[in-house]
């Protein structure tokens, strides 16, 4: 079993922050149009900080794991610091860069998270 698969499986089977977020200030949905992954990231902000982050996904294990890791990462983070969470961080957290055809599965939640944050704070994109 590869290192990527171990962390992916752990977060796929035990996703953190999965489910709808009541009272969300931002709710953004993203999709990979051909493979069909769908993810929604919801954020609640308090005084420029992400007080809560949750996600909903009908998506593959890699996408779910990515959303799980990302929502964990940005909880408590200032909105203007979200842009520092990038692919490099994500791939490191996944313990390896996914093969090229599967990069989009991992980056879909990142793109969706950034759009959600940017809807609350323009510099978050």
């Amino acid at each position: 079993m590869s290192a990527v698969r171990a962390v992916v499986l752990e977060h796929f089977r035990h996703p953190r922050n999965r489910g709808r977020l009541d009272g969300a200030d931002a709710s953004v949905e993203g999709a990979n149009p051909l493979c069909g992954d769908r993810v929604r990231v919801e954020l609640r902000a308090e005084q420029g900080t992400i007080a809560d982050a949750r996600f909903t996904a009908d998506a593959c294990a890699l996408c779910v794991a990515s959303a799980s890791l990302l929502t964990e990462r940005v909880r408590g983070m200032r909105l203007d610091a979200v842009s520092s969470v990038d692919e490099r961080w994500l791939f490191a957290s996944l313990e390896g860069e996914p093969p090229a055809p599967r990069r989009k599965c991992a980056t879909l939640p990142l793109d969706t998270l950034r759009r959600a944050a940017a809807s609350l704070h323009p510099s978050a994109q």
Binding site: R13, P33, G36, D58, C60
Partner: protein
């Protein structure tokens, strides 16, 4: 038939031009001769048009058509109860293998008349069905003018002194198809022939299109599990998972395993089905809940082409609905 229920819809082009029709309804019977369910209907038009049927055909059907023709031309009472009784020898003479009895209620109807009690009752039934509600057409056998339709939920339990025929008509089965691939395309085509209402669900708007699914009743694009939750499929619905992708299967199954949906089917091999069940079992779903999933989906017809797989799926849905499969 003018519609899936055999009801008289005055807006139907097939009936619009008929001055009068006779509605034949099978209200009782035993043995051979019919082969149809109680409530089966045939509409015989004054023009000679015949729609539907109350028997399997042949000479018995001919007797019903003759009686219907007579009802329309004779004048007199607008309703007649036709009872046909055949012993085994008589049945054999007219091409049947065994005898039986048949009770057919014949009612003269003016499709263009809004005040015709049958037209009014059928119109009300169609309205209820359109709203997704089962309806009961109540026909007093001694007072046809008092025919009316009630929502099935409003039929009183108490008996009545008069003889009435209660004709329950239920909305068509809703087939929720998750995954907009080739099998799904064929499913919508075949399901239409079976008078099922289809909803195609997918997360990909390039797949779930009207061009690919001209026969679908509805096409929904979005988060499949949320769409299915919103549809809230009940006993009169079947959910078939044909995406062959756990990304939709797992979230949708989480929604429906504890719902009253009448049928759940999952496309895939036994091994694949077991893997999906194992993942859900680890989340706390019970063996009984997981046993509701028919996988491999469909009756084993031995076919591999999308059309053959779709046929096997619908065969199983029908078998389960009719109580022939668990």
């Amino acid at each position: 038939m003018p519609n899936a229920f055999g009801l008289i819809d005055p807006n139907d082009p097939e009936l619009r031009d008929e001055q009068a029709v006779a509605l034949a309804t099978l209200i009782g019977g035993s043995g051979g001769g019919s082969g149809k369910k109680i409530g089966a209907k045939m509409i015989v038009g004054r023009s000679g048009r015949i729609i539907g049927g109350v028997t399997i055909g042949g000479c018995v059907d001919a007797q019903v058509v003759e009686a219907a023709d007579a009802l329309m031309t004779d004048g007199g009472a607008g309703q007649r109860l036709l009872s046909i009784s055949l012993d085994d020898d008589e049945a054999f003479e007219i091409g049947l293998t065994c005898g039986g009895t048949l009770d057919v209620l014949l009612t003269r109807v003016i499709p263009s008349s809004e005040s015709d009690p049958t037209v009014a009752a059928h119109r009300r039934a169609l309205e209820l069905l359109e709203a997704g509600e089962a309806a009961v057409i109540v026909t007093p056998l001694d007072a046809p003018a008092e025919t009316q339709t009630l929502p099935a939920s409003e039929i009183p339990d108490a008996g009545t002194d008069s003889r009435v025929f209660l004709d329950r008509v239920a909305p068509p089965l809703t087939l929720v198809i998750v995954g907009a691939g080739q099998i799904a395309m064929t499913l919508t085509r075949l399901a239409r022939e079976l008078d099922m209402r289809t909803v195609v669900v997918d997360g990909r708007d390039r797949y779930a299109t009207a061009a690919r699914f001209p026969d679908a009743g509805e096409i929904r694009v979005g988060m499949p599990s949320e769409i299915v939750a919103e549809l809230a499929p009940g006993k009169n619905a079947a959910v078939v998972l044909v995406a062959h992708d756990y990304k939709y299967e797992l979230p949708v199954l989480r929604q429906v395993l504890r719902s009253p949906v009448g049928y759940i089917g999952l496309l895939g091999s036994r091994k694949r089905g077991a893997a999906v069940r194992d993942l859900l079992a680890a989340e706390g779903f019970t063996a009984n809940e997981l046993a509701r999933v028919h996988t491999p989906i469909g009756l084993d017809l031995g076919g591999k082409r999308p059309e053959e797989v779709a046929l096997s799926i619908l065969a199983e849905v029908v078998a389960v609905r009719n109580g022939k499969r668990p």
